[in-house]
Symmetry: C3
Subunit: 153 residues, 3 copies
Amino acid sequence: MSRVEERLGLMGLGLPPVAAPVAAYVPALAHNGTATTSGQLPFVEGQLPATGKVGAEVDADLAREFAALAVLNALAALKAELGDLDRVTRVLKVTVFVASAPDFTGQPGVANGASELLGEVFGDAGQHTRSAVGVAVLPLDAPVELEVTVAYE
Amino acid sequence: MSRVEERLGLMGLGLPPVAAPVAAYVPALAHNGTATTSGQLPFVEGQLPATGKVGAEVDADLAREFAALAVLNALAALKAELGDLDRVTRVLKVTVFVASAPDFTGQPGVANGASELLGEVFGDAGQHTRSAVGVAVLPLDAPVELEVTVAYE
Amino acid sequence: MSRVEERLGLMGLGLPPVAAPVAAYVPALAHNGTATTSGQLPFVEGQLPATGKVGAEVDADLAREFAALAVLNALAALKAELGDLDRVTRVLKVTVFVASAPDFTGQPGVANGASELLGEVFGDAGQHTRSAVGVAVLPLDAPVELEVTVAYE
């Protein structure tokens, strides 16, 4: 078991199975030292635990947990692509899209659910750049979608 | 004629002229083995065939075709930058922004119009990572905007 | 003083202090010849000069100035990461998120505030690819958020 997965385990978390590959694109792709995930939704066993806009149907605290769930799916996709998450040398970038009610401006707090989990499992190598934006609506009415880019060796 | 353009031709498609360069930025940029396009709109001969939000003024099937049109513009921009599309060794990433009515959640279906065309013209090398999000509104009220990143040699 | 900062000074502009580092992520990150910023807001001395959606509470001309302010913050973040902005050999990519009223379609004009400033301070090396999209709402109700990717040596 990789160190990264060990740390997840100590937090009571595990990697979900990777979402079934879709014909038209792939969950993650490694090229020349950099690996990127497709947009990840907060699936739990293939289902979204809740849907809707943050600040309306979904509150900020729940959305923050969903951001962490989406990171778990991103890590699972990266593991499937890289073979071992311990090959990750640095988390470079996280882009967090938050489906937002027009008056919800707490996207950074939601995105912290992703950033803090990455910091906990990767330590200093988990310190990344980040953009968090509030979008109109996401696929399947998910509250959060995010993509992760890492350096690997 | 490149193999990529030959395949497009067999599908009855051709590369449009590249949108006139704007002073402030460029349509595509190659650097160190990776080339990225600017956000591409579904222009046909310099015009948007329709405008508005998907799920309201524009339906999902039409938006899917527009995603394919935007890919053609992206390929034209990449050809202008790289000289020959056969230099592309892998499509790495596609980000699809869909101007969406608040209750439209079919962004992946729209984005498939882009992903499938890339798969058809590049084969295995066209398998990419992808994010699809629903945004409030796009430049010129376009229904779809997308950017494409490729590896080249 | 670097040439880039000298040019800013001739335009009457200076680099702001970098926003205090947040525990969960970093303002900018350099890796293997490419440096990226986190999403930058148009802070002036730690405050947003105005908030709201462009096309509603904020007009397009003001938003264009805010895009330039956000670029200054991006340059400050890159300087803190790289030590010297003259290490930048090319601006590769700018992504501009404009918090937009649903009928505001002038995102490119807003984004020009960012692109033109980069062109003025970096010259030919400031010619970049760009995406500009209209999103529902941004952190702290900022009118504009943008991220910048550069090549450096």
